[in-house]
Structure formats: C-alpha cells, structure tokens
Symmetry: C2
Subunit: 371 residues, 2 copies
Amino acid sequence: MPLTKQVFIAVIGAGGVGKAFLSQLHHLATNLSRSPAAPTYVSLILLATSKKSIHHADYKSLSNWESELAASNTPPLPLPQLAEYLVNAPGKVVLVDNTSNQEVADSYPLFLKKGISIVTPNKKAFSSTSQLWADIFNAAANGNGSGGYIFHESSVGAGLPVISTLKELVETGDEVQKIEGVFSGTMSFLFNSFQPVNGGGGKFSAEVKTAKEKGFTEPDPRDDLNGLDVARKLTILARLAGLKVESPTSFPVQSLIPKELESVSSGDEFLSRLPEFDGQMEELKNAAEKEGKVVRFVGSVDVPKGEVKVGLEKFDKSHPIAALKGSDNIIAFYTKRYGDNPLIIQGAGAGGEVTAMGVTGDLIKVLRLLH
Amino acid sequence: MPLTKQVFIAVIGAGGVGKAFLSQLHHLATNLSRSPAAPTYVSLILLATSKKSIHHADYKSLSNWESELAASNTPPLPLPQLAEYLVNAPGKVVLVDNTSNQEVADSYPLFLKKGISIVTPNKKAFSSTSQLWADIFNAAANGNGSGGYIFHESSVGAGLPVISTLKELVETGDEVQKIEGVFSGTMSFLFNSFQPVNGGGGKFSAEVKTAKEKGFTEPDPRDDLNGLDVARKLTILARLAGLKVESPTSFPVQSLIPKELESVSSGDEFLSRLPEFDGQMEELKNAAEKEGKVVRFVGSVDVPKGEVKVGLEKFDKSHPIAALKGSDNIIAFYTKRYGDNPLIIQGAGAGGEVTAMGVTGDLIKVLRLLH
C-alpha cells in the first residue's frame, strides 16, 4: 500500500516572486499527488500579504487564491498568532517567506522551534546580526536543533545552485579558499554595458538610467548602487564558508553613490545629478583599458585570510567575470580540490521565475525530509 | 534527548575514486558523530575490490581498511550473496559502487528492491538499456518504487552539480530546451590545446600523446576518442530531461578514431600511426579558423526535437565553450526560465577527489533521508 503524506503550506508575500512561486507550487502539488509509490498531498492553507490574509479556522485548502485574496478583508495575523495558527494545523507545516521583510526574518527562530519548516529567498534572515544566524541554525533540524528545517537557496543568485554547492564543498571536506563573483543582476548589467570587453559603452549615468528604464534597478537606484545587496549575499556565503561575520556592514563595501548625492531627496533628483560624476567613472574605465582590463563590481571572500570585500575591481578581458553577458551573475569557488580552475556557476541571478525556482526546489527538499 | 542514527556502508572499488571516497567518508563520519542534535554513526562494514573483500560475519566496523585489505585472502562475494549479507545487517545500508563495472550496475534493481540504498559514479547503470534504467527507478524510493534510494551525481561531470540541477529544473516545472557542453576532461584538454582561442596549438596526434603522458586519457586513448564516454553522459542527461533513449549507441556519435586504425592491435600502435591522419584534423581546424571559430568536441540534447548527438562542432571564439581552459567540463542548460542566457556550470569534470566529492555529497543526501 502506498505511503501517503500530507503537508500544509503557508505563504507570505504575493509579489513577483510570490506569484511565480504559487504557480510553481500548483504544478508541483499536481505531480506529487500522482506519485504511484508515495503520493504527497500539499495544501496551501494560508496566503498573506502586508495588507491581507486568507486562511480558514478549519485549515481548509485555498483552492482559488487570486479571487479569495481579492475578496478578503482580513488583515494579516501578527507573527506570534501566525505561529500559533500554523502549529495547530493537523500535520506538518512549511512556511514560505517570499518577502524581504526583516520582521518576518527575525521571527524564524520562533517558527523553527515550534517545528515549522521554512523556505525563503529573504536575504535579511541570513545577513543580519550573527546572533540571528546563530538563533536560526541552533533551532533548525538541519542545523544544531530539533525544530523545523530551513533552506534558502534563492538568497544568493536566485535559483542558481550556489548555496547547495558551497554547503556540499564544506560538508564533503573540501577547503574553500576563495569565493569571487558578480552577485547583482543590476551591477552586472551596468558594467557589462558601461565597459563591454569589445570596447564601446555609454556614460555611467546613462547606463544607470537605461537599467532603471528596463526594470533592472530598485525604484531608487541608490538601493542597488550602495552595494548593500551584494554585501548581504557575501555575508551569507562567508558564514557558510565558516567565517564569523558580524553584519553586512562589518567589512569594506564600496558604494557607487557619490558622497554629494547620498542625501538628495529622491531617486529622480539623484539620476538627474549623476552625470556630474561621469568623469570619475570614465577615469576608472580608461585606467583599466590601458592595462587591457575592464572594471566590474564584485564581491569576494578570502577564507584563509578571513577577509570579505565588495567593490570595483579590474579583470583581464579573457577572465570569465569580464566576459559575463546581460544581467547574469557568476560565482567562482576556488577550493583545494578544484585547484587553479575554479568551480563556476553562471546565469540569471534575479527575476521572479528563477527566484521562485530556488524556493520551490527547497520546498521539494523539505517535503522529502518530512516523514 | 538526541536522536541517534546508525547507518552501515559497503563500498565496492578501491581505485582512485574509491580511495578518495574512503578518505572523505572518514572525515564525514567523524563530523556526523559529533552532531549535537542528531548524531549519526556511519560504519564501514564491507570493502571489496575485483579480487578481495573484507567484511565480518558480525558486521563489525572496519577500522583500518588499508591493512585489513592487504592482509585479506577472501575473494569478493558474488553479487546475490553480497545482497543477502547486506540485507541482514542490523540497520539501514548504503552500497557505494565506486567501480565502472556493468555487472555491478545490472544488479542495482536487486539491491534497491531489498531496501539497500546506492550512491555511485558508475555511468553504466544509467546509460545502458532503457530497461535497466526503468528497473532501477521502478525499484528506488526516489523513483516510483518503495526500495532504497539511489543518487548518481558523479556519473556526469564528477562533483559538479549537473544532475541535481537538471532534476531541479524539471521538478520545479521549467522547460529544458537544450543541454550543450564539453563532457569529457580528455576531449576538453585535447581541443583546448589543439586549437586555443588565441591561436597556436600542436598537431592533433601530438596533443593526444601529451594527454596520455599527463594521465588524461585511458590506457588506450581510443577508449576516449571513440566518444562513447560522452555518449553515455548524454544518454543520462537526455533521460533525465524526459527523452526515451534506448542506449548510448542509438543516436549519432562521432568517433575520432580513423576507420583504418579501429582494429590495430594496441594503443601504442594506434598512437604511432595517428600522425598519418593529422592532415584531416588540420583541415577542420583551418576551416573553423577562417570563420573566426574553433573546433570543440561536444554533446547536446535538443529536447523539443528529441535529438541527442555527440561530435565536433565549431564555436565562436567568444563562446563560453571555446573559452574553456585545461581539462574543464562545461554544461549549459537552455530553458524557458533562463531564456537566451543559459544556466552554466563549469569546472573539473574528472579526477579522484572531485568524483568522490559527488559520491560523498550523494551519501549525505541518503543519510538525511534514512530515518
């Protein structure tokens, strides 16, 4: 007789990633229920946004979340009540956090301790204080605890297999020496356009404008140019590689926002004044060009030295980091086993579908582990 | 109170991969036994080569396999007896097949049905008849069956995360359109040296000789040049992408062995006569050069067309396949989600340490799944 399994899913966030995830969840749930040997029934019991929630006292499955959400007037449950609601569900529960909300991230230890598993692309949970990192992994079953499982592949490089690969290198006993790469789709696009390997490229401010128009930047481009997003990803990788990193501001991060424009009131004003600083960027570009190199915005972790840094670096035109295209990410792992030629992973590192793919992949891992 | 878990490991094969695996297993076992929340005790109960076996009737752990193996006069157990021995072990068992033996591969369904899990880099299990593939996955718990688990990351690209990534693309509902890459360290080295992107390179026969001297080829280089190794890897990837492939000889595979040298009696005679055919390879090289391209030996799967092929192709010098270095592998997944810029994985695809890493990584997955 086949073993059947019932798992309840609660989702927070219904933006780009959230919507793509819900569509992938539908596909997955259909496939899992048809497994001849061990069907798994996955049911969505809660969907919350920052303004609304849909869920039922009897944990009834949400069959048509789009119309139910549109019709709902229920505000989201405060996080402690959400945890209570989920812990009383008649079966195992996975919380899918598709937000980038710090408050939700801060509550992960609470959920995990109650046996609720978590899958998420939310970088803030893993790149804030080292205390939060410790609290999460001291509670999680795949850490030092006995609570729920936690996976966060999409917190670096979206669906690219970056975190799982780094974990496997470490767990199988390889020695990671250096991790280096382009970790931001926005920064990738900006520099691949600003200084292509084959020459050409526009003024830096013009490329920022184009990137914004194409939807490759945050509403205020300073939120990309300050380097914090990349610093958060490097914090996560450095911690997984065994370094103690207090926070994403505890190591050198180069901001591309000119000092004079840090405090201008709007993204639009910032964009209109940015051309005043094109000369500085042009100098960097020309200096690199003279050495036969190009400028790229990268992050790196030097494990033996315990150093993490984020900022502009020059690369030979034949280097894989220089040759990157579009808004792709690239991550190179230099390890004892892989020697001089690193293990490289490359591809889209942002976007709803590929970010959701990492989350869905993590959910599959949790479903296999829940017995 | 911590949950403790005891798992028994049986290893076949103590060559380059086998030895590297045993060293990684020692490291892993030490770490797992120290896990504060849920220590796992992994014990090696059998090690067999083609000539000898060490194992004890009471399933006592092998503490010093090197000296025990040297001292042993016990011939290996025939496979059905091996299965009987393992199934009677007082706990869950994982069989690690570090051989490339067809007979061992053919017996996987037997082991799996008895609840024994398998991890292996042995390509032959997954690239022989489609019947064997079906028998394996109809028995396995992570297929359609209720037996042991099976994982085989290192059967393509050694420790590079190729199979896990393809499985995740498929399981999360992406549509894989094309898989293309360089899947042989030998072929990578030969063509990167024969026609480097920056010009130069030696005669083809001279590069084959160098590759053999560096230990990059099989003892008889024809076993690399016939393309069968690459065809086996493509068979595995095509099947995982959903194509029905009868065998690795059921699609076009270009052999680089001149017809006239197919039946010469030894690898040495083959090498001494290969220079007679350098003119043909030189012509291919020059034809590519005229188009600004280079020649590479690649495999590809076109999923919508249901086509698999292996052989020489020309690539623009700026293409990631052309820019490959040393003996690295590269695998590009073109999918609906990743669009024009594929998801790329690159790095060493052969060697004892990195192959064993894939096997150890698979073992970790199985240990997590065994409760």
